[in-house]
């Protein structure tokens, strides 16, 4: 395999594939062949580069140019101008929406500048479907080091010293967990990778499996060696077809190279992995429900203790680690615990991947050292709030988490700090909300999700979330009652106390957290029957201000139900004043942005 002078990387994560990166790839192959330079340029499809907002992304090496929003029709120009003549194509470079500055290199871009990629290090560098790339960047050397130079106890000590905590939510020490399983005597133990990523808006685990599946496989083998297991299971949802496919290819290639299977590296260590596809139930991300699902039973949580590390899959000692946690392990072994300790904050070492979504300029996947502030993530990396609106709150931890608002965005991101302000780390979804988001409505959205996803085993969770949802629903419809808030709080506390698993224990969090922080919004809904953000349809009226209306007819033309009528009153240049018939209005909001004089308001 001869290295080529030029390499083209095309981001082929799910995001960029949806934006059409496969057409870009085809166009490159055609154009290179046409210009007779196909053998001078290598094209790779790589995993997610994180900047999904700007996809499809194409990087040109060795000069490391970063092109955004590349379409098939741009490819010919890239080939003739950039690849052949060495001219960078300015219009395809990332342009900062605020400063209009164009960036040649991604390292200069504010989106990447404050990031530190550890778990995502190889995402966007290696071709996930070629094990040779992973071996070329020192892949599987961490495993070799463990097998030849270290005892299982030494491996556990390194992971423990590094201080890495589970990235799936609760933040339990990974090394300590491994030690539990190591200390249990037994011939049969399991390593399970939890790839059942269920939080709405979170996609870091999917991106790691799509971009760098081998680091997860290697980490599972390292864990197996450390605790004395010989069988691994990746529990992944069938809704992630690309990740499933790339992982399948990676497992097959690892087997072919003898990196999975019997007598790995000629030692007496044997380990193999198979995949188990989940049907996408949220509760199966909970480790004991996941084990039930793997065993073919209903995905319902088990009573803990015994913890899975003592009695897990088929009642055998089992380590369940999240994808992102595992992706850190090979680098911790290669670079040492000290190196990892040097990243992040004391007690919260390393990095965390967050999926930025919502009303933020740079939607995408970011990895930052622990201890960074939310303010930096939202404003430096995320590029601030979309359309210059006012920041209201950021939701972390998905349906199990809470909101962070006001001055709390200056807190450092650590497991403890998030808990202290009533939220949680969770898997790392981060949904940013602006002044147009109604907090009661947001709480209702999350509860709708957890209510649907409750497995039904515990009555408080099954019935309680439904009752809470009904209350929230009537509040958003203007039928709230004076004691509703008290009842929501009482129900919430009861559900938290009396549910078996994390789903029920945390389902009331978004509601309790919004009540805590945005009591005024709840009160406005209940007492004044008004939605201050203008998001709850039943509480909003669209009205035309007569003094501003110029009778241009634009609103009447965009109205889908023709409820905007003319009157006899003359306005503007001899035109007729318009009014909205409230009985017919469906509150779609179509007229609002179209009015040239901003005469339409919500109240």
């Amino acid at each position: 395999m001869n290295p080529t002078r030029l390499q083209i990387l095309i981001c082929a994560g799910t995001g960029c594939i949806s934006s059409g990166c496969l057409d870009v790839e085809t166009a490159f192959h055609e154009s290179l062949a046409k210009h007779g330079i196909a053998d001078e340029v290598a094209i790779f499809k790589v995993g997610c580069l994180g900047f999904c907002e700007q996809g499809p992304i194409v990087k040109v090496y060795p000069d490391n140019t970063f092109y955004v929003r590349v379409e098939g029709k741009d490819v010919e120009e890239i080939v003739t101008e950039h690849l052949i003549k060495g001219k960078t194509i300015e219009r395809l470079l990332f342009k900062d929406p605020e400063t209009s500055e164009r960036y040649y290199y991604y390292k200069d871009m504010p989106f990447y500048k404050s990031q530190l990629r550890v778990a995502l290090k190889l995402c966007g560098i290696v071709d996930p479907e070629e094990i040779s790339d992973y071996i070329g960047v020192d892949g599987y050397q961490a495993l070799a080091q463990c097998l030849f130079d270290k005892s299982p106890k030494e491996v556990i000590d390194i992971v423990k010293d590094a201080g890495i905590r589970g990235r799936g939510g609760a933040g339990f020490s990974t090394g300590a967990k491994w030690e539990f399983a190591y200390n249990v005597k037994g011939d049969k133990k399991y390593v399970v990778c939890n790839a059942d990523e269920g939080d709405p808006g979170a996609f870091m685990d999917r991106s790691i499996l799509e971009g760098d599946p081998h680091s997860v496989i290697e980490a599972m083998a390292i864990c197996a060696y450390a605790i004395g297991a010989d069988e691994g299971v990746v529990y992944i949802r069938a809704e992630y077809p690309l990740a499933v496919n790339r992982l399948r290819i990676a497992i097959e290639q690892a087997r072919e190279y003898g990196l999975l299977g019997k007598n790995i590296f000629g030692t007496d260590f044997s380990f193999d992995i198979h995949m188990d596809l989940g049907a996408g139930a949220f509760v199966c991300g909970e480790e004991t429900a996941l084990l039930n699902s793997v065993e073919g039973m209903r995905g319902e949580p088990r009573i803990k203790p015994p913890f899975p590390a003592i009695k897990g899959l088929w009642q055998m000692p089992t380590i369940i680690n999240n994808v992102e946690t595992l992706a850190n392990i090979p680098q911790i072994i290669l670079k040492g615990a000290k190196w990892f300790q040097g990243i992040g904050a004391p007690g919260n070492t390393g990095t965390k991947v967050f999926a930025l979504a919502g009303k933020i300029n740079n939607v995408g996947l970011v990895e930052v050292p622990m201890g960074i502030t939310f303010h930096d993530i939202i404003y430096k990396i995320g590029g601030g709030i979309r359309n210059g609106k006012k920041f209201k709150a950021v939701q972390t931890g998905g349906p199990s988490g809470g909101l962070i608002a006001g001055d709390d965005i200056n807190i450092e991101v650590t497991f403890e700090n998030l808990q202290a302000v009533g939220s949680m780390m969770g898997s790392g979804g981060m949904i940013v909300m602006d002044e147009d988001d109604c907090m009661v409505n947001i709480a209702k959205f999350y509860l709708d999700f957890t209510m649907e996803e409750s497995c039904g085993k515990c009555t408080p969770c099954r019935i309680g979330t439904t009752r809470m949802y009904e209350i929230l629903d009537r509040i958003t419809k203007g039928q709230g009652r004076e004691d509703d808030i008290k009842e929501l709080k009482a129900l919430g506390e009861t559900i938290k106390e009396t549910s078996l698993c994390g789903l029920g224990k945390s389902a009331p969090n978004p509601i309790l957290s919004t009540i805590d922080m945005f009591m005024d919004e709840y009160e406005a809904h209940i007492r004044d029957k008004k939605c201050p953000a203008g998001a709850c349809k039943d509480l909003v009226q669209y009205v035309i201000v007569p003094e501003k209306c110029i009778g241009c007819t634009i609103c009447a033309r965009v109205c889908p139900v023709n409820c905007i009528h003319t009157t006899d009153q003359v306005v503007g240049r001899n035109k007729q004043l318009h009014v909205i018939d409230q009985a017919e209005c469906v509150k779609c909001g179509a007229c609002l942005p179209k009015c040239p004089t901003k005469a339409i308001i919500t109240e």
């Binding site: 395999m1 001869n2 290295p3 002078r5 390499q7 990387l9 790779f44 090496y61 060795p62 000069d63 490391n64 052949i84 003549k85 060495g86 001219k87 960078t88 290199y105 390292k107 560098i125 290696v126 040779s132 790339d133 071996i135 070329g136 960047v137 020192d138 892949g139 599987y140 050397q141 070799a144 030849f148 072919e256 190279y257 003898g258 990196l259 590296f265 000629g266």
Partner: protein, 120 residues
């Protein structure tokens, strides 16, 4: 089938595949790399910039220098002197060479890049 049966097997494959990904890794941690640029505008190409580029790339690549990127760049509007080769060390004044043909390119690589790259 290239079954890995020992640590040595893995290291041999690592050495074999490394070249292939090195460029991507190097550019990723690009702060400390040395860049060698060759102008490939029309005058440059007429005067053999392509051979210069290939010669530089092959020399650097064969010597397995880890921290050097060979990059084709746009015309420098200095037609009489093209192809122009610039060696840009991180944080230093660049060295500039005019009218570089493939023989001269090999010399530049040997003198300034391979020694510099710390290859024994």
């Amino acid at each position: 089938m290239r079954k890995i049966n020992s640590r040595e097997d893995l290291m041999a494959l690592n050495a074999q595949y490394r070249d292939h990904v090195l460029m991507r890794l190097l550019s990723y941690d690009s702060l400390n790399r040395t860049e060698v640029t060759v102008t490939v505008g029309e005058c440059g190409m007429t005067n053999g910039a392509k051979d210069t580029l290939t010669a530089l790339f092959n020399e650097v690549n064969n010597a397995k220098v880890d921290d050097v990127s060979v990059i084709a760049v746009d015309c420098a509007d200095d037609c009489g002197n093209e192809p122009i080769v610039k060696v840009i060390f991180p944080g230093k004044e660049p060295l500039v060479f005019n009218n570089v043909d493939s023989a001269k390119a090999k010399e530049i690589a040997k003198e300034h890049l391979i020694k510099k790259g710390g290859v024994a």
